[in-house]
């Protein structure tokens, strides 16, 4: 038990360290760079059509408001405190909307799109990989494997651009961008749901196609490895039917590491397909980040960057804590 406790403590400390480093990087890097954030901020507000008036007075007021006139260490501590409450300040481009509001309104889109396409590609890829490991896999499947693996080498968004051109421009059967039918109020009715689904189809497909190969290759490797184990030989010696050995002994044992990968990928969801969202102007985190970069909206950029780091750190923590329950050897080895 003490081993397990020490292990859990170790992982907790690690996650805490990661989050602290992420927060600090977020604090330090913008301050290392040339240029005054306050003046940039004011310039951004006036560029967006806001009335700033007396520049110097406004700068001094904003500096005081943001606490930038205080010593750097005090700034750091109050920044940490604010960040822990997820208070990330206000957006410059869409003033006075809060950064946390912007981030959280974009989050469901990203989680929906990526969660769905990750699950689909996981199931398809795993089945395909298992089938490829089957000694008598049909030739057609083997022929199909090569292009699928080649696709997995290409970045998601490159595939997205090609799909967009093919199915929204050349043969316009699907919408070219956005997350829902243009100008539509989002209600919980069937038509809205179908509209959202139609808009998610192309970005989702580019993620599925581009990650299918990775899942298939990993699963095939795993199954082939498992089929070489001694207990498979024993099962064969006992005269069990081939199909049963393959499914109940081979696939079952190969599936565990595959599930770990799935959990990891789900944690990487938020940052997984920033550029796919950009290509399709999909209203998720990635597209918001792209827009914020274009508008030089520093606080929104920082807020999204922070969200990316923290969500991964937390998923890793959860995964690390669950893993010993699945495989007790993990805690024993690291303790």
């Amino acid at each position: 038990m003490s081993g397990l406790g020490a292990y859990a403590l170790n992982r907790l400390a690690m996650a805490g360290l990661v989050i602290l480093v992420a927060l600090s990087v977020n604090f330090v890097i913008p301050r290392l760079m040339p240029g005054d954030p306050v003046e940039q901020q004011l310039a951004a507000i006036s560029a967006a059509g806001g009335q700033v008036g007396d520049m110097a007075a406004a700068a001094a007021a904003l500096r005081e408001r943001l606490g930038l006139d205080r010593p750097i260490f005090v700034q750091y501590l109050s920044y940490l405190g604010n960040a822990l409450r997820f208070d990330l300040g206000v957006s410059a481009a869409s003033y006075p909307q809060r950064v946390s509001e912007i981030v959280f309104s974009a989050l469901p889109w990203t989680i929906g799109l990526l969660g769905m396409s990750t699950l689909v590609s996981f199931v398809l890829g795993t089945v395909m990989g298992a089938a490829l490991a089957w000694p008598r896999a049909p030739l057609l499947l083997k022929a199909l494997a090569l292009p699928v693996i080649a696709l997995s080498a290409i970045p998601y968004f490159i595939l997205g651009i090609v799909l967009l051109a093919l199915f929204a421009i050349v043969w316009p059967v699907l919408p070219a961008g956005g997350g829902y039918p243009f100008g539509r109020v989002l209600n919980a009715d069937l038509e809205t749901g179908l509209g959202i689904l139609r808009h998610g189809l192309l970005p989702g497909l580019s993620i599925v196609l581009a990650s299918l190969g990775t899942w298939a290759v990993a699963m095939r490797g795993m199954v082939v490895g498992v089929l070489g184990e001694d207990y498979i030989t024993l099962a064969e010696a006992k005269g069990l039917p081939q199909g049963r050995i393959f499914l109940a002994y081979g696939i079952r044992n190969a599936l565990l590491p595959q599930l770990t990968q799935l959990a990891l990928k789900l944690g990487l969801l938020v940052s997984g397909a920033i550029l796919v969202e950009v290509v399709f102007a999909y209203p998720g985190i990635g597209y918001r980040l792209y827009v914020a970069i274009g508008q030089k909206d520093v606080f929104v950029v920082q807020g999204i960057v922070l969200l990316l780091s923290v969500s991964i750190a937390l998923t890793m923590l959860v995964l690390d804590l669950i893993y010993p329950l699945i495989d007790p050897r993990v805690a024993a080895r690291s303790a």
Partner: protein, 281 residues
């Protein structure tokens, strides 16, 4: 030499990948035979022309010849990837050697730094630095990406060193009175070489992926022409929606080709390295 040729024949996809990449790297020498490189400058040709006799791949909205841009962008993109991959691998190898050789506290610090940096998504740090910098250059970009791609090589080298240092020939060297540095340089590094070559390809590929991502978000070098920047400008000007396929298809196809070539190269090298490692054991 004969052995190398035999290996290349056995690993046909790897040889093909290598050939593609070498040809692409040689483009600065070859391109002038096909098109005047000066046509890649803004405003040097009439804008928005579809492909034809004068401009084989047409021109973009800013008055650049697409073929000339493409032939300039491919080697530039490879250059960033190679530079970043090389620096990242260098840092990673040094840290990995130190962690594996000294063990103890050094190992703990390096390993923790690795774990922390691996958890923080590279794209987040890249975006942060990219938005803070006034002017992005090719060199700055390579440096930033390299600063975020040393972790995988560091961990891999550390693991290899930990296993190699227990081999009998290391004991022999130690008994001969060789210093630690000499052992690392003359006994460990040569044995790591095939392994490093394989991780180099992976490092280059991840570095290129990161730079292209940064460029597509609009944070790339504004004054240089790379494949990522070509795609960014095409996307920015709505080339896809306007049906200007000649503008975005070439960089997309070139990128796809590069990544597939890198995949073929790295999986081929993996097989060779694994065979080598087996004979070591």
């Amino acid at each position: 030499m004969k052995a190398i040729l035999a290996t290349l024949r056995r690993e046909a996809p790897m040889a093909a990948g290598l050939a593609v990449l070498i040809t692409m790297a040689a483009l600065p020498l070859l391109a002038p035979l096909v098109v005047d490189p000066g046509l890649a400058a803004i405003g040097s040709v009439p804008p928005r022309r579809p492909p034809g006799g004068a401009h084989w791949l047409g021109t973009d909205t800013q008055g650049r010849d697409v073929l000339a841009s493409l032939l300039a962008a491919i080697p530039k993109t490879l250059e960033i990837g190679l530079l970043a991959g090389l620096i990242g691998l260098g840092i990673g190898t040094l840290l990995g050697l130190a962690a594996g050789w000294f063990r103890g506290a050094t190992d703990l610090v390096i390993r923790t730094a690795c774990d922390v940096m691996m958890t923080i998504p590279a794209i987040a740090v890249l975006v942060l630095v990219g938005t803070s910098l006034r002017v992005m250059t090719v060199e700055a970009m390579a440096l930033i990406v390299a600063g975020l791609s040393w972790m995988v090589p560091a961990r891999a080298v550390r693991a290899q060193v930990l296993s190699l240092r227990e081999r009998p020939w290391i004991d022999v060297a130690r008994l001969n009175g060789s210093s630690g540095a000499a052992i690392v340089l003359t006994e460990l590094l040569p044995n790591l070489a095939p392994y490093l070559a394989a991780s180099f390809v992976i490092a280059v590929s991840t570095a290129m992926l990161a730079t292209i991502g940064l460029e597509a978000l609009g944070l790339g070098p504004q004054n240089d022409i790379t494949l990522g920047m070509m795609i960014y400008w095409a996307q920015y000007s709505g080339a896809i929606l306007r049906g200007m396929w000649w503008w975005w298809v070439p960089p997309v196809a070139a990128l796809a080709l590069i990544f597939i070539a890198l995949l073929a190269l790295s999986s081929g090298m993996d097989r060779i390295v694994n065979a080598k490692l087996r004979t070591l054991r």
